[in-house]
């Protein structure tokens, strides 16, 4: 059931991403949504939520670092 809700959220976020493309503040919205989608897949589908804190923090930091770097480089 939880997986199904996560899938619906992922599909909804994908549609939102396509919709906001080209609009004002699109970059930050697109990257934030990408972050949320990455977290949903990693923590729910890959069951990272069950893993040791080390893995959860490391992957979270990597995702945030990458998207922040993309934002800084693009601006």
């Amino acid at each position: 059931m939880k997986n199904r809700i996560v899938l619906l959220l992922l599909l909804l976020f994908t549609l939102i991403t396509a919709f906001v493309s080209g609009k004002q503040y699109a970059l930050i919205v697109i990257l934030l949504i990408a972050d949320i989608k990455l977290f949903l897949v990693a923590f729910q589908f890959m069951e990272l939520k069950k893993a040791h804190l080390f893995w959860r923090i490391t992957l979270s930091l990597l995702i945030i670092l990458v998207t922040m770097s993309l934002y800084i480089l693009k601006n």
């Binding site: 997986n3 599909l11 991403t17 897949v41 890959m46 069951e47 893993a51 693009k74």
Partner: protein
């Protein structure tokens, strides 16, 4: 078939879901693709008009459908793992089959996307944008094909009731498949949307 829920304690730092080796691979792959994307954005700043014009030639509809297809396949994979834990091999095989079908659909759509690019004369050497586009998406496609091979092996093993297939193997294969999804979730916005 020995597919019962293992006694593995995932809270142990050395035993993340799927095993430590697959997670090291996942981190290395994510870092590699991220560096590629950062380089793309860096070069895109120097040639902003060229990157913008080139990105407009990409087929966004195919990319959106491909994102939906890959996310759905990830859901089927997660469900297959759930059924594997519950020792419901028939349903686990069915959902693994669905994952494979959606994975093949992704490959077909990506191949069609490449066909359109080749028809339009937009190759790896056309400009810097296309160099990144071809390199990153083709490298990702290779990962999808490797993931599909692993899933087809699991599917055949489950259908034959093979004794050697373990839950940890299934979870490692699933983690690899989800990794393809993670990489695509990074590639999609950068290549198709932000230029």
């Amino acid at each position: 078939m020995s597919m019962t829920e293992s006694k593995t304690d995932y809270r142990n730092i050395f035993y993340p879901p799927g095993g430590i080796l697959i997670w090291i691979i996942i981190f290395l792959e994510l870092i590699t693709f991220s560096l590629g994307l950062l380089a793309m954005v860096y070069y895109g700043k120097a040639e902003s008009s060229l990157f913008h014009a080139s990105s407009l030639t990409l087929n966004l509809n195919i990319a959106i459908v491909n994102t939906v297809v890959l996310l759905s396949s990830s859901y089927f994979m997660a469900t297959a793992v759930q059924f594997t834990k519950e020792e419901n091999t028939k349903k686990a095989a069915d959902y693994t089959g669905l994952t494979i079908i959606f994975g093949l659909l992704f490959v077909c759509l990506k191949t069609f996307d490449y066909y359109l690019k080749i028809q339009a004369g937009e190759f790896l050497t056309t400009n810097t944008f296309y160099a990144f586009f071809w390199m990153l998406t083709a490298f990702h496609l290779i990962h999808v094909l490797i993931g599909l091979s692993i899933l087809i092996y699991f599917y055949v093993a489950m259908k034959r009731g093979k004794e050697t297939l373990q839950l940890t193997d299934m979870m490692a294969g699933a983690a690899f498949w989800h990794m393809c999804d993670l990489i695509w979730l990074l590639l999609f916005p950068v290549i198709y949307l932000i230029f």
